[in-house]
Symmetry: C2
Subunit: 344 residues, 2 copies
DNA sequence: TTCTCGCTTGACTACGTATGCAAACCGTGT
DNA sequence: ACACGGTTTGCATACGTAGTCAAGCGAGAA
């Protein structure tokens, strides 16, 4: 950058300007502004006064370059437009904000290597992964690069890192037991992706619960897909029409799928829960709408997000850079609403 | 920072390392990596090779400090947890991503001055405002600071800036005319905040349309509130019980409010649209769910978001820093679904 | 052979902040 | 009057990249 550039960009005020104005050195300005005790009260006052007058705002970039900290964390999601993710992103944003960190959004599309590179560009202190596949190349890359990260909701295998999640298998088994208790014997399911920890664990928990009660889950009545509305909508239509059987209960991998299924049932003129029960997982606020009233497994999304944020920041700010991986597993519980009924 | 710090932080690879390794100067490395033609092909190859081997990733911070550009833009929303905002944030994120910019989330709570300061911390090239009040101190501050910004969806008054929105008054008048055409004479409304451009324009358009047809909108049947589900839910309950009248149609300031109203009607056992029609504004995907099927005004949210992103980036990268404010107003249209019927 | 021109390359500096170290300053006790 | 100790301040530098300027180099022309 040549010296003559001078004022091409909006001439922002720097600590040097304050120094010049108050007649002290730039170092003293820096110290005064950071509240360093080695500054005379009178000097500090003069500096603060000048800073206020000039509407001085310290440059994050200069600071970052010097401290190697950006006070920014990356949030990796599959798909920013998904209407279900604010329940996680919102609370996370708020904790981070309180802790003085800002959130940068990253969408994980295909090429994980490129994303890891971008995350490693130094402009981020840590990463929250909500989107991890069991075999997460991204997590491995982050680990290799020494960039702090935390898994929120989902987990990857074989990569040590902090984890915040619910006991997915337990939650699903609660559903399984309740379905059986209510007399259902013709059961179907639309699970999430097998490549995710939530997909795998929820499927396992549900299957184990049914098996322990001797109830069959015929493979013709099982669907898999990603955690979207459409998966539930199409899965439900295919279950209702495609298979010879008539399931009286359908367990869905999450609420988005369940709501898709609910809408498909309505579309097909099948009454819920009179003709078929539908159960979700997550307990997003929409599940409680009067028009939905979805029976589902409650997960404390806000607390989980907040917890993940705090773990990550702790790790970032930890004095000795190493820290044992910490695992926080929350307990889910079943919320009975109006989409699960006794079999008639 | 003292010289002896050396390797306290994860020793990241810099362009100097590459220079040392290949035996050229750091400037040459920089040039080679940026594709500067004034570099011999052989040299470029050696540099790229070394960079690949060391898994070199340039430091965003160093680059930002040098170029004064961060390739980061701020997205200001009221409330990150709102499930309706992904429809705007998602597409916006995607365009920005294509253009090589990342998105940093900011929540606007109370103190606008503090937010303006944070945004001005140099670590952002521009700002998208979706949350602006008509009297936006934030917009004024940004303008004063010379930080590029664009209004998306809402607008502030008296601050020159790029604007992307729909013709809100027109959209609302479409609803008004259709309601009248279908024979409704007892009409109510739950509008958004008067302090927002959308709130004001949608209210105005609706009132004008009714008035032109000689239909009254009694003040006892009008509510105002923010653009949330709860506003619609409670507003609807209060309209149904509180006023002596029995409206046959209720216009809502946006889909979130309309869906709240829809759920309140169901809760109160009032049939939609047989006993009361409900109309929204925005046409978010949820409006098309089989269980909702909300009649509403369609706004091209994705295109608007994409357009806003492009305008902002153009402004950031514009050669002469000044640029006339550009205004893009999209045309809305009414989407008939199942919550608006002829009066019986 | 020498000069010139163009292509490559290196040295150097700006960018804004934080901080170790050294120097300056002040007051107190002898 | 001087030495000593503590407080306050300034100097110098690191951080990583981009880009200006000037120098080095080699090839072709005269």
């Amino acid at each position: 950058m040549p010296k003559r550039r001078a004022r091409t960009h909006s001439s922002s005020i720097t600590s040097h300007d304050i120094a010049r104005m108050t007649g002290v050195s730039q170092s003293t300005v820096s110290r005064a502004l950071r509240g360093d005790p080695h500054v005379a009260a009178a000097t500090r006052e003069r500096v603060l006064q000048a800073a206020r007058e000039l509407r001085y705002v310290p440059s994050d970039i200069g600071r970052s370059l010097s401290t190697r900290l950006t006070r920014r964390i990356g949030m990796v999601v599959t798909d920013v437009a998904n209407p279900f993710y604010p329940y996680l992103v919102g609370p996370l944003h708020d904790v981070l904000d309180e802790l003085g960190y800002r959130m940068v959004l990253f969408a994980e599309r295909g090429e994980a290597g490129a994303l890891a590179d971008r995350l490693a560009g130094q402009s981020i202190d840590g990463v929250v992964l909500t989107t991890a596949m069991l075999e997460s190349e991204l997590a491995r890359d982050l680990h290799a690069r020494g960039l702090p990260f935390v898994f929120l909701n989902r987990v990857a295998e074989g990569v040590p890192g902090d984890v915040v999640t619910v006991d997915n298998a337990l939650g699903a088994s609660l559903v399984g037991h309740e379905v059986v208790r209510r007399g259902h014997t013709d059961v179907a399911a639309i699970f999430g992706p097998l490549e995710t920890s939530t997909g795998r664990d929820r499927e396992r928990g549900f299957r184990v619960a049914l098996a322990s009660a001797g109830v069959q889950l015929p493979e013709a009545a099982v669907r898999h897909g990603d955690y979207h509305y459409d998966t539930g909508y199409e899965g439900m239509l295919s279950i209702m029409s495609g298979t010879g059987m008539r399931p009286t209960a359908v367990f869905c991998g999450n609420d988005a799928i369940a709501i898709g299924a609910l809408n498909a049932a309505r579309k097909a003129g099948v009454a819920v829960p009179d003709e078929v029960s539908i159960i979700g997982f997550d307990d997003i606020p929409i599940a409680d709408w009067e028009l939905i009233q979805l029976t589902t497994v409650h997960t404390p999304a806000s607390e989980m997000a907040a917890s993940a944020g705090r773990l990550l920041v702790e790790r970032i700010e930890a004095r000795p850079r190493v820290l044992e991986p910490r695992i926080r597993i929350y307990e889910p519980h079943l919320v009975m609403r109006r989409t699960l009924a006794d079999v008639s």
